[in-house]
C-alpha cells in the first residue's frame, strides 16, 4: 500500500520540479519526502472528512427520527381510525334465498353497535347483495331485505335509524366471480360503508 503512495508522491515532487524548471535550482538534492508526516496529514484530512460526514449523518438521523416521531403519532391516530373502520366494514353473510341475520353474524353487528355508539357523528350505508343463482329481478328485492335486516338489528340495539341508509345491488356486483358454493356464500352479503363522520373514529 505504501509503495505506490510513495511513488506517487515522488512523482508529484518531480513534476513540481519540472514545472518550476524556468528557474533552475542549484543542484540541491530533492527534499526527501517524509513518508510518516505525509501519511499523518492524509489521515488527519480523512478523519476530518469522516467526522463531517458523521455529523451530517447524525443530523439527518435526528431529522429522520423527528419526522418518524411525527409520522408515528399521526399513524397511531390513523391506525385507531383504520382499525375501527375495518371493524365497521366487516361484512355479514346470508343463507341462500334468506335475509335473516345468522347467529354467527350477531357478534359482528354487536361490534358495529358499539362503534356507532362511540362515534355518534358516524353515518353508515348498508348494501345488500345476492349470489347469481336467484332470479335477476327478485334479487333486487332480496338484497333490499338483507340490507334492511341488518339495519333493523342495529336500530333495535339503540342506533338511530336516521344514521343508517340501505340499498340493494341484487346480484349485480358479485365479490367473487366464481360459480360454486364458495363464491356464492361470499356473495350473499351485506357491505357496510361510512358515509359521513368517519375521519377520526374512536374505539368503542
Amino acid at each position: 500500500m505504501t509503495r505506490p503512495l510513495l511513488l506517487v508522491l515522488a512523482g508529484l515532487v518531480t513534476a513540481g520540479v519540472v514545472a518550476c524548471g524556468g528557474n533552475p535550482q542549484p543542484a540541491t538534492p530533492a527534499p526527501q519526502a517524509n513518508a510518516d508526516s505525509i501519511a499523518a496529514a492524509e489521515k488527519a484530512r480523512q478523519d476530518s472528512i469522516a467526522a463531517a460526514e458523521a455529523a451530517a449523518r447524525a443530523r439527518e438521523e435526528a431529522e429522520r427520527v423527528a419526522r418518524q416521531r411525527t409520522a408515528d403519532s399521526l399513524a397511531a391516530l390513523g391506525r385507531g381510525t383504520e382499525a375501527v373502520r375495518t371493524m365497521l366494514a366487516t361484512m355479514i353473510h346470508f343463507d341462500f334465498d334468506k335475509s335473516n341475520i345468522r347467529s354467527d353474524d350477531a357478534g359482528t353487528l354487536d361490534q358495529k353497535v358499539g362503534i356507532l355508539q362511540a362515534n355518534s357523528n358516524a353515518h353508515i350505508r348498508i348494501a345488500g347483495h345476492c349470489d347469481e343463482r336467484g332470479s335477476d329481478e327478485y334479487n333486487l328485492a332480496l338484497g333490499n331485505r338483507r340490507a334492511t335486516a341488518a339495519k333493523q338489528y342495529l336500530v333495535s340495539h339503540g342506533i338511530d335509524g336516521g344514521r343508517i341508509e340501505t340499498q340493494s345491488f341484487g346480484k349485480e356486483r358479485p365479490l367473487d366471480p366464481g360459480h360454486n358454493e364458495e363464491a356464492w356464500s361470499k356473495n350473499r352479503r351485506d357491505e357496510f360503508d361510512i358515509t359521513s363522520g368517519g375521519d377520526a373514529l374512536r374505539q368503542p
Binding site: S135, D136, Y138, T166, Q167
Partner: protein, 473 residues
C-alpha cells in the same frame, strides 16, 4: 317429432315416385293419389284449421329469376320458425322445374292477372297433384311485377289459388327491408291458416348493462342504448309496440324510463331516489306499473303516464315483498311475485290491488322459488320460472285450470317472454354452456337458438310491430 320423421320418409318415397311419373307423364293425378301414403292425414287437414301435431305442408316455389331470392329465403325461414308448417324443400332447388306440362288441367276459375304473373311466365298451370304428392297443402309463388312483389298462395288440396298478396317492399339495402318481408310472411300465415304469424316482431334484451334488440328470426342484432355508469335492466314493450320501458340501475338506485321505439326519445318516469324496477305498461297504455323497494319492503305501484301523476300503491306487504307485475291482456288482473309464503311464489290480484290470491299452486316447503311471470297475449297462460333442484326451469300456468307444467329441463332456463301468438316463448338458457336466447314452441316442443351471443338477460318479446312506413299498396 316421430310423426315428422315418418312424413319425411314418406316424402322420400314420394320423390322416387315423382321421378318415375315425370318420365312417364301419364295420368299423374291417378297414380299419385294411389301412391300417397299420407292421404288420410291430408284428409284431416282439408279444413285448414290448425291442429297441433298435424302441420300443413308448404312449398315455396323456385323461380328462374334471382331477384326475389333474398325475399324467398327470409320468407322460408319465417314460415319454418312459425312452426305451423311442414316446409317442403324441392330437391335440386332451382335446377328442377317442377311445373306440369299439362297446364290445361288448371280450372278456368284462375284467370286473375296475379295468377298469370307469377313464377316467370309459368302461368296459372300449377301441377297440383304433383305438389300434393310431395305433401304440400300450400304452394307459394313469388313474382316481381314492376315495383310490387306479388305472392300467390295456391291451395294445393283444393287445386286453386287461395289468395294473392301484393306488397311494395323497400330495396334490399333498406333498413326497413327485412321487417317488410317479415310482415309479408305474417300475411301468408294469416292467408293460409287464418291466424297471423309473429315474424314481424323483435326481442329486447340486456347484455353487459346495455339494451339490445334482435328480430324474431335472429337477424338485426342491434344496440339500442347504453348509459355510462348505469346498467339497463328489465326492458318491456307496450301493447302496440310503439313504446318501451326499462330501468336504469346504479348504486342501489333504480330509475324508470319510457322510450319511443321509433325515435329513441325518452323520458324519466321516476326520479331514481328509490329502487324502482320491473316496469310494465298497463294494457290500455295509460299506466306504468312497477316494483319499488324501500326500507319497509318491496311493493307494486302504478303511475299514471297519461296525466303524469297519481302514484298509487297496489300491494301492502308489511313483512313480505311483492314485485314483478304482469297484466292480463284485458287489463283486469295482475300476476305478481309475493314472498308471503316465505319463498317467492306467483300470486294474482285485481288491477286495483284487491282480491290477492295464490295463482300458481306449489307445495309448501317443497317447491322452490317462483319468479318472473309473463301473461300470454291470449290470456290463457302465465309463463314463469321456478327453482328446481338448485337451478331454474320455465313453467307455464294454465289460467283456467290453475295447473302448471314444466316446459324446460336441460340446463338453467329463465325469464320467459311470450310471442304475440301465445305459443312461442323466448327465454334465457345456459344449455349450450353459455347464457343465450332460445325460443320454444309450446305446440311442437321445438327449441331453437335465437341469438348466439352469450351473457344475455331479461328478454322481452314485442307485439306485432306497427308499420312505420307504407309498404302495402
Amino acid at each position: 317429432m316421430r310423426r315428422k320423421d315418418g312424413r319425411t320418409e314418406g316424402r322420400k318415397l314420394c320423390w322416387a315416385a315423382v321421378g318415375c311419373l315425370l318420365t312417364l307423364s301419364v295420368l299423374p293425378s291417378f297414380r299419385l293419389s294411389a301412391q300417397d301414403t299420407s292421404a288420410i292425414d291430408r284428409g284431416v287437414r282439408i279444413g285448414i284449421v290448425y291442429r297441433p301435431g298435424v302441420r300443413p305442408g308448404v312449398v315455396l316455389l323456385p323461380d328462374r329469376s334471382t331477384a326475389l331470392d333474398s325475399v324467398r329465403a327470409i320468407l322460408a325461414r319465417d314460415l319454418d320458425y312459425s312452426d305451423r308448417f311442414e316446409l317442403i324443400t324441392l330437391p335440386g332447388g332451382d335446377s328442377i322445374r317442377v311445373s306440369a306440362p299439362a297446364a290445361a288441367r288448371a280450372p278456368g276459375a284462375r284467370t286473375t292477372a296475379g295468377a298469370r304473373a307469377h313464377t316467370g311466365g309459368e302461368a296459372a298451370g300449377l301441377n297440383y297433384p304433383l305438389y300434393q304428392a310431395l305433401g304440400a297443402d300450400f304452394a307459394i309463388a313469388l313474382a316481381a311485377v314492376r315495383d310490387t312483389t306479388q305472392v300467390t298462395i295456391h291451395d294445393v288440396t283444393a287445386g286453386a289459388v287461395r289468395r294473392l298478396l301484393k306488397a311494395r317492399l323497400p330495396t334490399a339495402t333498406s333498413s326497413q327491408f327485412r321487417m317488410a318481408v317479415h310482415r309479408l310472411a305474417d300475411k301468408i300465415v294469416e292467408a293460409t291458416l287464418g291466424t297471423a304469424g309473429t315474424a314481424a316482431t323483435r326481442v329486447l334484451f340486456v347484455m353487459d348493462g346495455k339494451l339490445y334488440q334482435i328480430d324474431s328470426d335472429g337477424a338485426g342484432f342491434k344496440e339500442i342504448l347504453s348509459t355510462k355508469g348505469r346498467a339497463i335492466l328489465s326492458p318491456v314493450w307496450d301493447r302496440d309496440g310503439r313504446r318501451i320501458a326499462y330501468m336504469e340501475f346504479w348504486s342501489g338506485h333504480g330509475q324508470l324510463f319510457v322510450q319511443d321505439a321509433a325515435t329513441g326519445r325518452r323520458r324519466a318516469v321516476t326520479d331514481g331516489a328509490t329502487l324502482d324496477f320491473t316496469p310494465v305498461f298497463s294494457p290500455d297504455g295509460k299506466g306504468l306499473t312497477f316494483s319499488r323497494a324501500i326500507e319497509e319492503g318491496t311493493d307494486v305501484y302504478t303511475f299514471n303516464l297519461r296525466d303524469n301523476c297519481c302514484l298509487q300503491r297496489l300491494t301492502v306487504g308489511r313483512f313480505s315483498d311483492n314485485l314483478s307485475p304482469a297484466y292480463s291482456p284485458d287489463g283486469q288482473r295482475i300476476a305478481f311475485v309475493s314472498t308471503r309464503p316465505g319463498l317467492p311464489q306467483i300470486y294474482v290480484m285485481a288491477a286495483d290491488g284487491t282480491d290477492e290470491q295464490l295463482f300458481a299452486p306449489f307445495d309448501y316447503g317443497v317447491t322452490g322459488s317462483s319468479n318472473a311471470p309473463d301473461w300470454s297475449p291470449d290470456g290463457q297462460s302465465v309463463a314463469f320460472h321456478r327453482d328446481v333442484a338448485g337451478t331454474l326451469q320455465v313453467f307455464v300456468l294454465d289460467v283456467r285450470t290453475r295447473t302448471v307444467r314444466q316446459l324446460t329441463s336441460l340446463g338453467r332456463n329463465e325469464d320467459p317472454t311470450w310471442a304475440p301468438d301465445s305459443r312461442h316463448v323466448a327465454f334465457v338458457s345456459d344449455r349450450s354452456g353459455y347464457r343465450q336466447l332460445w325460443v320454444i314452441d309450446m305446440e311442437t316442443g321445438r327449441i331453437r337458438p335465437l341469438l348466439q351471443q352469450s351473457g344475455v338477460r331479461l328478454p322481452a318479446w314485442s307485439p306485432r310491430l306497427p308499420e312505420t312506413e307504407q309498404s302495402t299498396p
